[in-house]
């Protein structure tokens, strides 16, 4: 029974990938400048954001003596100049090469190079051309809301699993983020390196990640539970696993950003909202899969068993539920969801790095805690709220650097008033 439903669930997880079909092609790699001590310095930065880099922009560097140099940004939006003299430099960009509908927020950036052997940053901020305080505020709000929903849905995929694991085993899994990264990196291998079509690669990624979940529980977590290892110790085991995985990724793919598909994403504009096609597909997949998981939890026998185990493992076991089987299934599905979240994330932000998962780990924890530790639907709600907060914070005047900090701050403030989270139930003492 459990197995049959697991199969059904897996099929539901994978089906939406059939929707996604794109092909890959090769791209140029930008050579980055590396400063040498006492010889050269670098002035470098990224056009756009790491998530949405802007390629093909001519960046102009004016040296103190008035000479000019030009470079064109690569696919990753990066540009760099190597210089051999200290002094005051000025960086600007050729407006003609900017993508349509964009303009520079600051025409030039001054860079003071006071010593060689270092890298200096110079951020050329882009904004929409029709930028004007009155009208664009609303547009910006709508655009950010869409971005927030997109982030929230991706977070939800991972955090529902995190929450289910917490609910059924009491474990806060710090290695969950690495499973998200694993999804993206396996996407890179399956699709980019080994040339599978995206939909097939996606299915392979989810199956692979779900498999890691199955074997992790079988080989690691279940034996540890049997040993009676305390939850705190188990949590530290997940930290060790997380460290080992992070550096394994660095060993395998290095510290660079890898991409699942090579071409630049196509963009559609609906009114004020500009969004890549991959984002749309990712959002659709997320909604379908999350609904499937929700349906399974509420309506199927195994889903009810899972909720029973989260609620009271001893009682569940007494009433004839095989808790070990349920937990095994939870690990499998949770890791599959994390992998799916990872490959979608890699597609949406167009690249994945060894620490991409680490970047969102805290957002995942925030989502799970916000919704109420151990409640799957709480995690879903929490993830959407966190996603929206992260993307909307800059619209309401929070400096961009602080958008993640805002989400975490809200979490801390919420714990002050409602420690059990939004959907959690208050604890009984004694």
């Amino acid at each position: 029974m459990v197995r049959g439903t697991a199969g059904l669930l897996l099929a539901l997880l994978l089906a939406p990938f059939l929707v996604l079909m794109t092909s890959g092609s090769a791209s140029a790699v930008t050579v980055m400048c590396l400063p040498k001590a006492d010889e050269t310095a670098c002035i470098a930065s990224t056009m756009g954001s790491r998530a949405e880099p802007i390629a093909g922009v001519d960046v102009i560097l004016t040296a103190p003596d008035g000479t000019e140099q030009r470079v064109t940004t690569g696919d990753d939006g990066k540009w760099s100049f190597e210089i051999t003299e200290t002094g005051d430099y000025v960086v600007s960009a050729d407006a003609k090469t900017l993508p349509d509908g964009f303009e520079l927020e600051n025409e030039t950036v001054d860079v003071k190079v006071d010593q060689l052997g270092k890298s200096f940053g110079a951020i050329l901020q882009l904004r929409s051309e029709d930028y004007s305080a009155e009208t664009s505020k609303v547009d910006e709000l709508i655009q950010s809301t869409v971005n927030g929903l997109r982030l929230g849905l991706l977070l939800a995929l991972a955090s529902v699993g995190l929450s289910l694991i917490y609910g059924t085993t009491g474990l806060s899994n710090f290695a969950h983020a690495e499973q998200v990264t694993l999804g993206g990196i396996m996407g890179y291998f399956f699709v980019n390196q080994w040339g599978l079509p995206l939909w097939l690669g996606g299915i392979c990624v989810v199956v692979f990640c779900a498999g890691t979940g199955y074997f992790q529980d079988r080989g690691l977590w279940q034996p540890l539970r049997r040993r009676g290892l305390g939850l705190t110790q188990m949590m530290i085991v997940t930290i060790g696993l997380s460290l080992a995985l992070q550096y394994t990724y660095q060993l395998v793919v290095g510290a660079r950003t890898v991409r699942v598909v090579q071409d630049n994403p196509e963009v559609s504009t609906f009114g004020p909202v500009t969004i890549t096609h991959q984002s749309i597909v990712a959002m659709v997949i997320s909604v379908v899969v999350l609904s499937a998981v929700g349906f399974a939890l509420l309506r199927t026998r195994v889903g009810r068993a899972t909720r029973a185990v989260s609620d009271n493992p001893a009682l569940a076991m007494a009433s004839g539920i095989d808790t070990d089987k349920v937990i095994r299934l939870v690990w499998t599905v949770a890791m599959g969801l994390a992998g799916l979240s990872g490959i979608l994330y890699a597609l949406v932000v167009n690249g994945i790095k060894w620490d991409s998962g680490l970047q969102i780990l805290l957002l995942l924890f925030a989502a799970v805690t916000l919704g109420g530790l151990g409640t799957a639907f709480g995690a879903l709600l929490g993830a959407l709220i966190i996603g929206l907060v992260v993307e909307l914070a800059p619209v309401f005047g929070m400096p961009g650097d602080f958008k993640y900090a805002t989400a975490l701050l809200i979490l801390i403030l919420l714990l002050l008033v409602r420690p059990q989270g939004l959907l959690g139930k208050p604890q009984r003492v004694g």
């Binding site: 009676g228 997380s242 604890q427």
Partner: protein, 394 residues
């Protein structure tokens, strides 16, 4: 032989480095949180970063060095209060999530380009901006310029540094350290003047022997010289002593009681919240102090004090043995020396085509992660911990 000497030299440098001492101080603080009180502080790196910023920013902006230290400690104190008030009444996991989040918030704020004038944003504050006053207070025998081999008499002076001299020396050193560990593990935890005297004697002997075998050459008061090493390791010793005084007292007994069962302690009329808060603050102050030492040899880099550093602290603590006096120090040394060994050995014996320098570093961290897992599963009491204290699953 040369390869081995090279590897051992690298390990020795890592062992004596101020960074190791700094992390040891932070781990001593973490031991108060996690080892004695059972508080899951996942933001020790945040305390370190606050200490470093407190000192770095104030000295950079012209305040005296002592004031800088006070600012660093004050920042950690306020941070502990802010974190403790909402979470210390809740279940342990909440403290973990809130501390790790708050530490990240500090890092994000420190990185922010809006605060470049204060924090130097992601580039950080270069050490040259704040470490001069520290070096200017160096006293004899550290005054004067130049570099210095701490122990002028070394293995080169005995039989021309023949192989047998070194092998014998290494054997004695291993013996001394092993008996030190044996001594620390044996007997009752907090008793015996003679035993403590012997421990101190063995530590001194081992240090001299190691310096004899590995003549290291550093500047006297340079950015990364003997003066900083002297201060850092003296602080480690002082911190150990303070913790020893604290945990053998009834206050320390309360901490362990809270670790076992808060409600029981509450039912005995103790103000559990206040005690936990005190523990959080004390451990956090140690963290801040560690952070200050950590940056004196380098620069205040927000990204070098992120979650990973906290995780390293936990590894070191569990390695040495939680809820022991010397466990944090031994664990930190073992952690860094062990990592240096893996790194140096794979540099020396694995060809570049398989593992280049950077990959060797990654590899050493993978080993760290796996070691942490195995340690927690198979030897949760670490090297020095009391097995009986961890035998019962509560």
């Amino acid at each position: 032989m040369d390869n081995i000497q090279l590897i051992l030299n690298g390990m020795m440098r890592e062992m004596l480095s101020p960074g190791t001492a700094a992390v040891a101080i932070a781990v001593i603080g973490l031991n108060i949180h996690f080892g004695f009180t059972g508080l899951l502080n996942m933001g020790q790196a945040g305390f370190m970063l606050l200490g470093a910023y407190g000192m770095g920013i104030s000295v950079w902006h012209g305040l005296p060095f002592a004031v800088g230290i006070l600012f660093g400690l004050g920042a950690a104190l306020i941070f502990a209060l802010i974190l403790g008030v909402p979470t210390l009444k809740l279940r342990g996991d909440y403290l973990a999530i809130v501390t790790i989040s708050a530490a990240e918030i500090i890092r994000y704020v420190g990185r922010s380009s809006l605060l470049t004038d204060f924090t130097g944003s992601a580039q950080g504050i270069p050490g040259s901006q704040y470490s001069d006053p520290f070096r200017s207070v160096a006293f004899w025998p550290f005054t004067g310029g130049g570099s210095w081999v701490l122990l002028p008499f070394n293995y080169h002076d005995v039989a021309d540094g023949a192989v047998w001299v070194r092998l014998l020396g290494w054997a004695i050193a291993i013996g001394a350290i092993a008996s030190l560990v044996y001594l620390l593990r044996s007997g009752d935890k907090f008793s015996g003047v003679a035993r403590n005297g012997l421990v101190v004697l063995l530590v001194v002997f081992s240090v001299f022997l190691l310096l004899f075998l590995f003549p290291l050459d550093y500047q006297k008061v340079g950015v990364n010289g003997w003066w900083l090493r002297f201060v850092a390791w003296t602080l480690v010793a002082v911190c150990c002593f303070i913790v020893y005084l604290l945990v053998r007292s009834p206050w320390g007994r309360l901490l362990r009681g809270i670790r076992e069962d808060e409600d029981a302690i509450r039912s005995l009329g103790k103000n559990v919240f206040a005690i936990k808060m005190q523990a959080l603050i004390i451990g956090g102050l140690f963290g801040a102090l560690g952070g200050m030492v950590y940056v004196l040899a380098s620069s205040v880099q927000p990204d070098s004090m992120g979650r990973t550093l906290t995780f390293f602290c936990y590894t070191a603590l569990l390695l040495g043995g939680a809820a022991t006096i010397f466990g944090p120090v031994l664990g930190t040394i073992m952690f860094y020396v062990g990592r240096a060994f893996i790194f140096q050995a794979s540099r020396a014996y694995v060809p570049d085509s398989i593992l280049n320098t950077q990959e060797a570093a990654f590899f050493s961290y993978i080993v760290v992660g796996v070691a942490l897992m195995l340690l927690v599963i198979f030897r949760p009491q670490g090297v020095l911990g009391d097995k009986r204290e961890l035998r019962f699953n509560v």
